[in-house]
């Protein structure tokens, strides 16, 4: 049986509450779910808990899974939504608007001035940059982190992200744009704080 047909069969059996079949699905998809969980939570223990929660809910709601969809993507959708929801319970729900501009006109001037100074990341090695990025990612608001992880790490395209997050394409684009700016600002801020100088003087 081809792998895809195999998955379909396992799902079908799981829908009849065949736990053995579902256990096999868990084995097949645990890396995929765990990876996204880890990138979202930034912590191994939380990632485990989140991933476990995801599979539990998947089992409980597998009846709603439509066979023509991709099972892995469906699991990812559960993952990101459960995580976002838990974050909302901590800090309150976040709604991202569609068209709000990121910067006022004057912001353009600040950008030019800042860029005219020596590159704060110029001296960082790849490994150091990775650390900075990892830390910066964890410090971003949840919605920003979610779109960045889905786009830059998991490689979903805009349409897929819109379906995963149940929002419009426009929202995805503008949120991603804002998220990228925010991440860049954080990375530069962390780099500055860690002593990579902003200026040579």
């Amino acid at each position: 049986m081809s792998p895809l047909a195999n998955v379909k069969e396992l799902v079908r059996r799981s829908q009849t509450k065949d736990q053995q079949a579902f256990a096999e699905l868990v084995s097949l998809y645990q890396d995929k779910v765990y990876s996204l969980s880890y990138h979202l939570t930034g912590d191994a223990t939380e990632a485990q808990d989140l991933a476990q929660e995801v599979f539990l809910r998947a089992y409980l709601h597998i009846g709603t899974f439509r066979q023509e969809a991709d099972f892995g993507t469906w699991l990812h959708r559960i993952t990101v939504n459960v995580w976002l929801n838990s974050r909302r319970k901590q800090k309150g729900p976040l709604v991202i608007s569609l068209d709000t501009p990121i910067v006022t006109e004057d912001g353009e001037v600040a950008r030019e001035v800042a860029a005219a100074q020596p590159d704060p990341l110029e001296m960082t090695t790849e490994r150091e940059l990775q650390q900075l990025v990892r830390r910066a990612l964890q410090e971003l608001p949840a919605d920003f982190r979610a779109v960045l992880v889905l786009r830059e790490i998991e490689g979903y395209n805009y349409e897929e992200i819109a379906r995963l997050l149940r929002c419009s394409l426009g929202t995805v684009k503008s949120r991603l744009n804002r998220a990228r700016h925010a991440l860049k600002a954080k990375v530069l801020a962390l780099a500055a704080r860690d002593g990579y100088s902003l200026s040579d003087r």
Binding site: Q48, L56, Y59, K89, P93, R111, L137
Partner: protein
């Protein structure tokens, strides 16, 4: 900034995602070849994206599948075996902020003491649908996942509370506007009590400090300061920017315009002429009224009375999330500035702070007011 930069910046997100057509991508690259500012920006992003892509995640522990199946198994057990913290029935965090905060704090402590996601999972058993966003909010308990080990978010000293859910869906789209229709309600529908409050002008103060807390001394707009004034205090609360659009046909344009302006003045609106001229055979004039939210609806009604309404619409943007995110960045930079000793660094950071502050202040102001755009057309 050269015109080229502004345009190129608009294309950059698509450029990063390789979603630009060949011609546009080539144009972007041509500009990058000659512009150091944009080149730096792109280079930064490419390095960061590259680092992101390579971020690794460890493998799940070997007994992971076993644990999952165990939790599935126990989820089938009867309710009395589940543990969890319930808020007393009738207490909803959004209705009784003070009390709810106390109870919620207790809940957080209890959950930290007890555990983790698996506990939450047992509690949430029975929720329908894998996308939990809608239903969860309606449940009474606020069982929270444990506090994250490393304090990642900015400390909530003054500006504690979260912005709340926007009551009500958005109104009809402005004709021809870019905003695409939503495929699903973007947010949870809050409990009735909240939704029934008049949205316009109802400022819901969620600040932990008293609502009367006034902003600290405002930072002066001018740059080049050495001594830093206190950073402004921005309250984290619900913020919406509402704009309405109205097209009215009138028998006499001049008279109608004068009338509209008089009405606007009486409402204390700021009036701006947007355009004046000929549209086909008809004379037209466009006026923009910026008015306090509490008066906007009434003003709209009066303007409607000027003639025959040909077209109308409105749009509400909730900027609470953008505000919260920007506020976080702002606080971050402020905190950072206090730790640097190099004057040039401090100045650069100060500029960033000013920029963010301006944006926050603009949003703050705009959220208090509504915009009505009125187009008058002579019949």
């Amino acid at each position: 900034m050269t015109p080229g930069c502004r345009q190129v910046r608009r294309f950059l997100p698509a450029y990063y995602d390789r979603a630009l057509g060949q011609a546009k991508a080539a144009a972007v690259e041509e500009h990058l070849a000659v512009c150091a500012v944009c080149r730096t920006e792109v280079a930064h992003w490419k390095r960061i994206a590259g680092a992101l892509e390579k971020l690794e995640s460890p493998a799940p522990p070997p007994d992971f599948a076993g644990r999952v199946m165990a939790s599935i198994d126990s989820a089938g057990r009867p309710a009395k075996q589940r543990r969890g913290l319930k808020l007393p029935a009738g207490i909803r965090p959004w209705l009784a902020p003070g009390l709810a905060r106390v109870v919620a704090a207790a809940a957080v402590l209890a959950v930290i003491a007890c555990g983790s996601w698996s506990l939450a999972a047992k509690y949430w058993h029975g929720v329908t649908g894998p996308t939990i966003a809608h239903r969860e909010e309606a449940k009474p308990p606020t069982v929270l996942p444990p506090q994250e080990k490393n304090r990642r978010e900015a400390p909530p000293e003054q500006l504690v509370p979260p912005p709340r859910v926007v009551p009500g869906a958005n109104n009809a789209q402005v004709p021809g506007s870019q905003a695409p229709p939503q495929t699903a309600p973007r947010q949870v529908t809050p409990p009735k009590a909240l939704a029934e409050r008049p949205p316009a002008g109802a400022k819901h103060e969620w600040s932990a400090s008293s609502a009367a807390s006034s902003p600290a001394a405002s930072v002066a707009g001018s740059s080049g300061r050495v001594a830093f004034a206190e950073p402004r205090v921005f309250l984290n609360k619900e913020r919406q920017i509402t704009s309405s659009f109205l097209r009215v046909a009138v028998p006499q344009l001049d008279a109608a315009e004068a009338e509209a302006r008089t009405i606007g003045q009486r409402f204390g609106a700021k009036i701006q002429e947007l355009a004046r001229g000929q549209a086909g055979a008809r004379q037209q004039v466009g006026l923009k009224f910026t008015v306090e939210t509490t008066r906007a609806n009434l003003l709209l009604v009066r303007l409607i009375g000027l003639g025959k309404v040909l077209d109308r619409g409105s749009q509400t943007q909730d900027i609470s999330a953008d505000f919260a995110a920007t506020l976080e960045l702002y606080r971050y930079w402020v905190g950072l500035r206090n730790t640097v000793t190099d004057a040039a660094e401090a100045e650069a950071i100060g500029r960033e702070i000013e920029r963010l502050e301006k944006q926050l202040a603009t949003w703050d102001e705009e959220a208090e007011r509504q915009v009505i755009v009125l187009w008058l057309e002579e019949e």
